[in-house]
């Protein structure tokens, strides 16, 4: 992807640094430290979230014109650690702690199903199903593209960190996410097809500049949990919650696109998730999360934290999009002309 626009002093200093050769690294840590210290709420801080997003992207597909060697440069790792510390601390502050189940497979699965049960309140999926117009559908895809074009990638970091039942479960889910060996069935590829169906640019990272900080925070949270072995419980909990809140909303999203006259080429992504995630949620709750806790019961709090963080942050993302739409505004930073 191309380097996004800077959104403040910290991202500006970082992006300037990245445009140089990593052999000539020269500090931007000061600007980042200042931004971290001055941030009111790191979750909605555009400057810090876009900086963190770019730092993480060095570990995924890289950034056009930025040397790959920057990925493991000690100075960048130090900068990343500064932002991550503030980010994780804030997440632990705002994310509610669910009640602790017994550390058995069944009890953990039951607790996760209870935590992720639909509360029936206002929801983005219901709005999309009943009311969203075509420009809102396009916005919805733009918001989702930040993660969905690398769908399943942040959770794949956890594979070598797990063993036994949990590892087999994660691979079972991820293999399906990646199309079971067929690149055309890869969920990220099906999502790209949906984007094209609405005339959107499906290239990786094309809309980073358009989305607000909280959308970047949602993706960054997965990278944070995925890249730190210490947080393997959290990335497992995150995936479980994500899968467990997917089938029914995706049916509604698909209905919204059908209502607007789109065909199967566009709705395949949502229809596929109705079916796939009804499988994945069982595997994720019972064998991935439950299996992990049976093997490593000390990770129970982290699994619950990851699951609750997924619901909380993605809940805020959805609320903000709904709040914008119900007041006749765009949920994006800049209007996209398509």
């Amino acid at each position: 992807m191309r380097l996004p626009e800077a959104r403040g002093n910290a991202s500006d200093a970082l992006f300037t640094l990245l445009s140089r050769s990593e052999r000539h690294a020269r500090g931007s840590g000061g600007a980042i430290a200042e931004a971290v210290a001055g941030a009111e709420d790191v979750l909605t801080d555009d400057d810090l979230q876009v900086a963190l997003f770019v730092l993480y992207e060095l570990h995924y597909r890289g950034i056009d014109g930025v040397e790959d060697a920057w990925e493991w440069h000690p100075e960048l790792l130090a900068i990343r650690a500064l932002i991550e510390a503030a980010f994780e601390a804030r997440l632990r502050e705002v994310v509610p702690r669910p009640p602790r189940p017994e550390p058995t497979r069944r009890a953990v699965a039951d607790a996760l199903f209870e935590l992720t049960a639909d509360t029936g309140g206002p929801s983005l999926s219901r709005f999309v199903a009943r009311q969203a117009d075509e420009s809102q559908l396009r916005e919805f895809l733009i918001q989702r593209s930040i993660y969905q074009l690398k769908e399943a990638d942040p959770h794949a970091w956890a594979i070598p960190r797990l063993e036994g039942v949990a590892k087999a479960a994660l691979v079972e889910i991820e293999a399906d996410e990646y199309g079971g060996g067929d690149p055309a069935r890869m969920h990220a590829a099906i999502f790209a097809q949906t984007m094209r169906g609405l005339g959107l640019d499906d290239s990786y990272g094309a809309y980073v500049d358009q989305v607000p900080a909280i959308t970047l925070a949602s993706a960054n949270m997965m990278s944070l949990f995925g890249l730190h072995r210490r947080l393997r419980g959290a990335i497992v909990g995150h995936l479980a919650a994500f899968e467990m809140t997917s089938s029914i909303p995706n049916k509604l999203y698909g209905n919204g696109f059908r209502r607007n006259g789109f065909g199967e080429d566009v709705t395949w992504y949502f229809d596929e998730h109705v079916e796939a995630d009804a499988v994945h949620e069982q595997i994720a709750a019972r064998h991935l999360a439950g299996g992990l806790i049976e093997a490593e019961p000390e990770l129970l709090d982290d699994v619950l934290f990851g699951a609750s963080a997924c619901l909380t942050i993605d809940g805020i993302v959805g609320e903000r999009i709904l709040a914008a739409w119900t007041t006749g505004q765009s949920s994006l930073r800049q209007q996209v002309t398509a």
């Binding site: 199903f113 079972e172 399906d176 079971g180 089938s247 049916k251 009804a278 499988v279």
Partner: protein
């Protein structure tokens, strides 16, 4: 969960998970494309994509006996 043969996992309050070597046949005897290696079959009767599960059992409060 040996994959050589087919296996059916009974998910409490949820679907049946099919793994391994299996074939799903419709009422006309024609095979139904499973789309994936592991599938979830509807057990509550409310799915809109039968024979597959679509998660509706969660909203309906479906309970299995054990």
């Amino acid at each position: 969960m040996l994959e050589r043969q087919g296996s059916i996992e009974l998910c409490p309050d949820g679907p049946l998970l099919l793994r391994g070597d299996f074939e799903i046949l419709g009422a006309d005897g024609e095979p139904i494309d499973a789309h994936r290696k592991t599938v979830a079959l509807c057990r509550c009767g409310l799915s809109s994509i039968k024979p597959f599960c679509d998660g509706t059992h969660k909203a309906s409060g479906f309970r299995t006996e054990e």
